[in-house]
Subunit: 250 residues, 4 copies
């Protein structure tokens, strides 16, 4: 297999503005994600991109050569231009994977791919989250136990306004009385989309070994798979005999 | 049950520009659709709206009081404003049904709800289409036989770039050698979305009794169902005791 | 609409053997279920059947004229004969609805329809269960709030070994730290299958108004829908011309 | 990756009884399948088993060490013992993949996993089949074109009485006017199930390069994936504090 080409997109604002967050993620959340990808897939080619770089750090060439993109954003979704949101969506439909993390549930590319509001309920109360593994044989669950705990996390609660996932892999239990579909997958066009809930910036979630395993597995699973040119043929000639020659649309 | 409130949206250009089409649909395609709805649900309240009316014939109040919208469009999808496309999408997410007919696969509201290109292959060769019934117990299939034929139709062929349907109800066979997922449903937000393939404007498809049955059934099935106020509560207080009082987002 | 024909099947052993259970359900669990169906659908025709009646209270004619069957069983699944389990399965495939309640997850007809072990984890500790509503627009959720609590219930926990549901309508939160897919639907053949978790015999769960609403709605939603004779045609003649006359299988 | 351990099960009756079939498959259908697996996965460990061997050629140890089983049967499904059908089903639920080929739609293990009749319509008229590729990015479709033809095949037609597939990968067009869901996948327990339609014994279908690609890919995709011991824990102690100690079931 060719080395996995991963692009990690991070909003990268909280880390610059809040000492607490900077202390947890001194290299930015993208730095922690980069590290966990390389820890598992040592020959991966990892690129990072952040919101306030020119074109948000993206380019047409980067999208065309990315196998899977991780996306973390929280408070500045609106700053992502519609043009780039559309390009990321189109890249997924062409085969690039997308792993949307935590509050990327409201990121423009994710919302465009889902077609729904992607709204949810939330609470910050330093409460315990326990994530239950519903499909231990799924490749993303390789090495993940039946359940694991995060001592403190932000709560995300149902109803999560998403299309019914193709696969529901984990459901979260929260101390305060809520549940959430925390790990979901969808096929969209030629691409695979994953949503994974944990990762509030004020907790060391991306240092948790199980969270790291899930994300690294998801990156591999969602990678670009199309092995053939998918030349669009919007018009076809007939395979079998038809009454009349194909006509032009009036 | 309250009378069904149906809004029929039609591009209404082919009928005005082509004698062939005008001869088949003297009252417009929306007129034929209106008739088939009333034929089956005689107490339905039917409103029609067309592209080149002010605001495409739509209003916020109309969307809020429509149980299900039928949508036919073909060559002028781009003329539908993004603002109204977004409002129709939002109405579906709030509970309004949407029945997308024929080339409405490329209508803006449908594409926004699907999140994919919704592209397909096509051919106009006056060929036979046979539609196979995969779920005879589904409410939309009530009164529809195992299969039925349309003597001449435009061909739509796979690969149809849509999210895997929640329910696949009919698959078409075409004389020229193609197949197509012709009747599909999806839940999006609180609304139901149906796509039904036949209905090229140069054939009398909407006069076919089986096609009429499917559309009338689909209108009823996809109607608004939410029986409670769905007040958004984006923020929640805890149900069970939590370590700290709920905090504001930093 | 014709009156709903409901058959309620109950193991009916706990109520006879334990005073606690008898006190909660003096007319048997089937009596409480019968009452809640009639409370909502006053013209329903309700039949009850129990394990130790001849043929478990079932007959071919009863199955053929039942629109939906509710099934409660717990400790004597093995006493249900394979022959009757197969007949109930076949009735569902022919269009009868099945609403499997609580420990009916291990009932023979349900397991045969699912094809999996239907195993789960469980605990009896008088703990609180909170059920979250994921699809408020679904007919089974009509009148059900965003969430509701049962003060004490048996815990059922994931991983629940079922095929991915067609629709996941409720997820339970348990005080002890577990989650569960508590309200699921599947289409099987021409019939609809519903599983609804709560209902341990030592708690007054079937007297809870929200639980009653869910079960009454589920009975209506899952009812027999096939409106046409579904004559099996295992052999077909050709619709279009083929190279050779249809042959007999060698 | 460890070498793929494949068990090929074949009824192996037609080849012994009919010269036509023997001429096409001189080493049996299992021989042709064995060859195509090894052609693609040269280090695979392939075992073959046939109906009239003792225990149909199966053993508990073989099932426990098989990553994926291919199954071809046609006219003697009833000869497979219920005990072995149940063991194959249980092996799938424990993680073994199953690729059901052609008339294995009525094989006992497949029917037990589906829970439905798995009935369909059929015709032998030496007609053309064209298989359309709906998901070119799926691993099973690697190397498969947009569509391919089989010059002559038996027709299988809808309605195919199966649970809605998790993934619908190919749909067949038949010359005589029928369509069929020809390549479907389902997750059941910890195992993956694939159904692939073509392969009537009187045609050289398993010599077709595209058919061979699909089957070889399906074998790899459906292989055993569970990387952890899945010790059953039917009883759990509490994770969080509960009102009372866990009780025994009454």
């Amino acid at each position: 297999m060719q080395p996995l080409r991963v692009t990690i997109w991070n909003e990268y604002l909280h880390e610059l503005e809040h000492d607490t967050v900077a202390a947890i993620y001194p290299d930015g959340i993208h730095g922690a994600l980069r590290q966990l990808v390389l820890e598992r897939w040592s020959d991966a080619v990892v690129t990072t991109a952040t919101l306030r770089e020119r074109d948000h750090g993206l380019s047409d060439e980067l999208l065309a050569t990315t196998d899977v993109m991780l996306w973390w954003g929280h408070k500045a979704h609106a700053e992502v231009s519609d043009a780039w949101a559309e390009k990321v969506q189109a890249a997924v439909l062409s085969g690039m994977g997308l792993v949307a993390l935590h509050s990327a549930h409201l990121a423009k590319p994710f919302k465009r791919l889902m077609g729904t509001h992607c709204s949810l309920r939330w609470r910050e109360a330093d409460e315990k989250e326990r994530l239950w593994n519903l499909q231990p044989s799924h490749p993303i669950m390789a090495g993940v136990p039946d359940q694991f705990e995060l001592a403190q996390e932000e709560m995300y609660g149902e109803r999560f306004d998403i299309p019914e996932p193709d696969e529901l892999l984990m459901v979260s239990w929260f101390q305060g009385g809520d549940v959430f579909r925390s790990l979901c997958t969808w096929q969209r066009g030629h691409g695979r989309v994953v949503y994974f809930r944990p990762g509030h910036e004020t907790y060391p979630t991306y240092h948790d070994p199980h969270v790291r395993t899930v994300i690294a597995n998801a990156a591999l699973w969602a990678r670009r798979r199309l092995t053939r040119s998918d030349a669009k043929s919007p018009r076809v000639t007939e395979f079998e005999s038809v009454p009349n020659p194909t006509k032009e649309h009036i």
